[in-house]
């Protein structure tokens, strides 16, 4: 346990001290601010609670998931690359440490960094709304605080999935430029092309009789699609109880648990079994 904590501390310090990561996080936080300014523009003069709630939750989801996923990919990728680049990973592996201690330490530190960044982003988002937006928007924030917590939790699991996916690609693919760029391409393909008109939409048109089923099966592989489907369950409605909403869509929400779990297990298997050079 002590070894895991030592490795996590060292990894955490490496992330905090990496100038490229600091620059990207600063850019991300500016993007969060830009999202709040967008909300302010969109909701000028609006007092409809549902409209305000939908805009805030959609913007928060977009900020934490779509914009934040690149941060998750970078964190996961850098945890393996930095050591491969310096050849430190070969040194670590020959030390009297189990490989699963090393990968546990790396996963814990990456998750901790991701938790810090997403918490900071959420805090900046909420506090900027309080500072920049008008009273009607602030009142809705107070009403939907439980939904904001759910979005924060699901977004963290979403980011954990991309983090572990990029770690997995870094471990499996020797050439680092290929692993990072391939990860970005795959994320785009699985989040946009496959559930969108590119694949699901076109296949649904080709197999006309089973359109809805095909769209549901193919689009359901994407975590972004789960967020989109939450609208249908009344997630954006401030009057609806969060427990009722989650209990009606638990089958979709559970994907946020088993998909990151699968990629983390695959990371374990790949790191423990594979020759890292």
């Amino acid at each position: 346990m002590r070894n895991i904590i030592n490795i996590s501390k060292k990894e955490f310090a490496d992330f905090i001290g990496n100038p490229s990561i600091i620059v990207i996080v600063i850019v991300y936080l500016l993007v969060v601010l830009a999202s709040v300014l967008n909300i302010n523009d969109t909701l000028q003069g609006s007092s409809d609670q549902y409209n305000i709630s939908a805009n805030i939750l959609q913007s928060l989801i977009r900020t934490l998931t779509i914009y934040g996923s690149i941060i998750g990919i970078i964190i996961g990728y850098s945890s393996i690359l930095c050591e491969k680049q310096n050849n430190a990973i070969n040194t670590i592996i020959v030390k009297p440490l189990y490989r699963d201690t090393i990968v546990n330490g790396k996963l814990i530190s990456c998750a901790a960094v991701m938790l810090c960044i997403s918490s900071l982003a959420t805090l900046i988002f909420i506090s900027s709304i309080f500072i920049l937006c008008n009273q009607s928007i602030i009142q809705v924030i107070i009403v939907i605080w439980d939904k904001i917590l759910v979005v924060y939790t699901l977004s963290f699991l979403y980011l954990l999935f991309f983090l572990s996916l990029s770690m997995l690609m870094s471990i499996l693919i020797k050439k680092q430029s290929i692993s990072f760029l391939l990860c970005i391409i795959l994320v785009f393909v699985f989040n946009n092309i496959i559930p969108g008109i590119g694949v699901a939409g076109n296949l649904a048109i080709i197999f006309d009789s089973d359109r809805q089923l095909i769209t549901y099966i193919i689009s359901g592989t994407s975590l972004d699609w789960v967020f989109i489907n939450l609208v249908g369950y009344g997630f954006y409605d401030p009057a609806k109880n969060i427990i009722d909403v989650l209990s009606s869509c638990w089958f979709d929400v559970i994907k946020f648990i088993y998909l990151p779990l699968i990629t983390i297990i695959l990371c374990y298997i790949a790191f423990i079994r594979r020759d890292i050079v």
Binding site: V23, A34, N38, I66, S78, L81, Q176, F180, G198, I205
Partner: protein, 267 residues
């Protein structure tokens, strides 16, 4: 000129066998084929249910592939820009290259021309594949001349945006010291330029983002979409021409900056 073309030829053959380029090209071909097969029913249905006098061959069939094609081609341009410089810096071959009896500007121009040739080839093949698949499964457009001029403009717009992305990626690769930084900055720029919703008072930022420029050009600077045949082509070209010229100017400027920085590059 001969040395530039030699470097360009070498870069072309190296990059065309890169696994990422092959993967992206395969994804683009699959999307083109799938879109073509689906267009048989989709475009026919649009002809029946959406009577808006637009030629649905373009406004429905071809415009369905617009977003994915543009994102994947700019990703390809970014990847090419990074691998041509950063991979060489990492492996150390750039030090060998610089010691050869070649002007540094020839090396940089050769790399740029080699990558541009790949982008032009892939852009033309992908768009032609999309068009031919729609023709096979749906049928011909309402007017062949209209289709040729608009599809030609689409290919040209895609190509100049890819050139812009390529020059920005090469700039990032030259300026950053290591592979990790260049990948992180280029990857983040690629991600945010396509998915960021820009606030209204930052709207001028589109002038430096290839993705925003692409959308603005295709929309005729928001005066009429290229694929909507109701908008006369002359209206589209009048409003898009300033943006096209600006994009070309930005590409040339970025390329000149690359040349200056690479000339002063200390190994």
């Amino acid at each position: 000129m001969k040395t530039i073309l030699l470097v360009a030829e070498n870069e072309f053959y190296l990059a065309i066998r890169h696994p990422l380029i092959i993967i992206i090209a395969c994804i683009l071909f699959c999307i083109a084929i799938l879109n073509g097969v689906a267009s048989g029913k989709l475009v026919t249905s649009a002809d029946v249910h959406h009577i808006d006098d637009n030629d649905h061959f373009l406004s429905v069939g071809l415009s369905n592939t617009l977003f994915y094609t543009a994102v994947l081609l700019t990703s390809m341009a970014t990847i090419l820009g990074i691998i041509t410089i950063s991979d060489e810096k990492t492996s150390g071959t750039i030090h060998t290259l610089i010691t050869k009896s070649l002007y540094r500007r020839d090396i940089m121009m050769g790399k740029y021309i080699g990558m541009s040739a790949i982008l032009l080839l892939v852009t033309i093949i992908v768009v032609m594949l999309c068009v031919s698949m729609i023709m096979i499964f749906y049928g011909g457009p309402g007017s062949i001349s209209e289709m040729l001029i608009r599809v030609g403009s689409y290919i040209f717009t895609l190509y100049i945006i890819n050139e812009f992305s390529l020059s920005i990626a090469m700039l990032i690769a030259i300026v950053t010291n290591n592979l990790f930084s260049s990948l992180v900055y280029a990857g983040t720029l690629l991600w945010f330029e396509w998915f960021l919703l820009i606030p209204k008072f930052f709207c001028n930022i589109k002038l430096i983002l290839p993705a925003e420029m692409f959308m603005a050009i295709m929309e005729g600077n928001y005066n009429g979409f290229l694929f909507e045949t109701l908008t006369p082509y002359s209206v589209w070209i009048t409003h898009s021409m300033p943006l096209i010229i600006f994009t070309l100017a930005m590409t040339i400027t970025t390329l000149l900056i690359n040349l200056i920085i690479f000339n002063n590059y200390e190994t």
